[in-house]
Symmetry: C2
């Protein structure tokens, strides 16, 4: 069946959550949001393109930082209201310069930082 | 720093997305939602507990199906508006009896089913 971005279920703001997973390591890098047009752009260009809720504009990941995400595969969940993008990540995915945004673990009730910023 | 579920950023409905990842294989199993109380319950009980938006009630994963998720670790992202739960998943995570909800891949513009339902 041909894939149509309009067939996905978007929230009241026209957005769907997209989970970015490192295609090589399997690590979860980040979670951000897409609208139908950014889903289409991501598939067309092979560059993962989110929708920035704060800037209200397309966010081609790495466009300014160089930390691009090349799409390896997009997957849709059973309810069609969440996306998984398998990516090749250049450098850090997080704006804090860490490889992943999920660098804080809860261990024994305490917050523990488990990743340090990458060297430039 | 002690972790307080109230320190997370919830959406207008008081919810935060939670990504469940298989602690052993690294596969993404599903994405669902938690409120502050289900975050606390998940940490207290070690059983991953979402908030069901459709039923408007706690959803202790596997409570009826037996397909429980035991928490190995909870992680918080940089913006504190998304959670990653590393889990030990009993059987399928998806209500379609597939191991993961993300069983539809987009390949060459077509939807391709990449997982089949598990045997009981």
């Amino acid at each position: 069946m041909p894939f149509d971005p309009a067939s996905l279920t978007y929230d009241a703001n026209g957005l769907i959550p997209a989970i970015a997973q490192d295609a090589l390591s399997g690590d979860i890098l980040m979670m951000a949001w897409m609208n139908a047009e950014s889903v289409a752009k991501t598939l067309e260009t092979g560059r993962v393109t989110y929708w920035s809720r704060s800037r209200k504009s397309f966010w081609v990941k790495g466009e300014t930082s160089g930390h691009v995400q090349r799409l390896r595969e997009m997957r849709v969940d059973c309810d069609r209201d969440a996306l998984l993008v398998l990516v090749e990540q250049e450098g850090p995915a997080c704006h804090t310069n860490r490889r992943s945004c999920f660098y804080t673990a809860i261990r024994d009730g305490e917050e523990v930082e488990i990743l340090t910023p990458m060297e430039d």
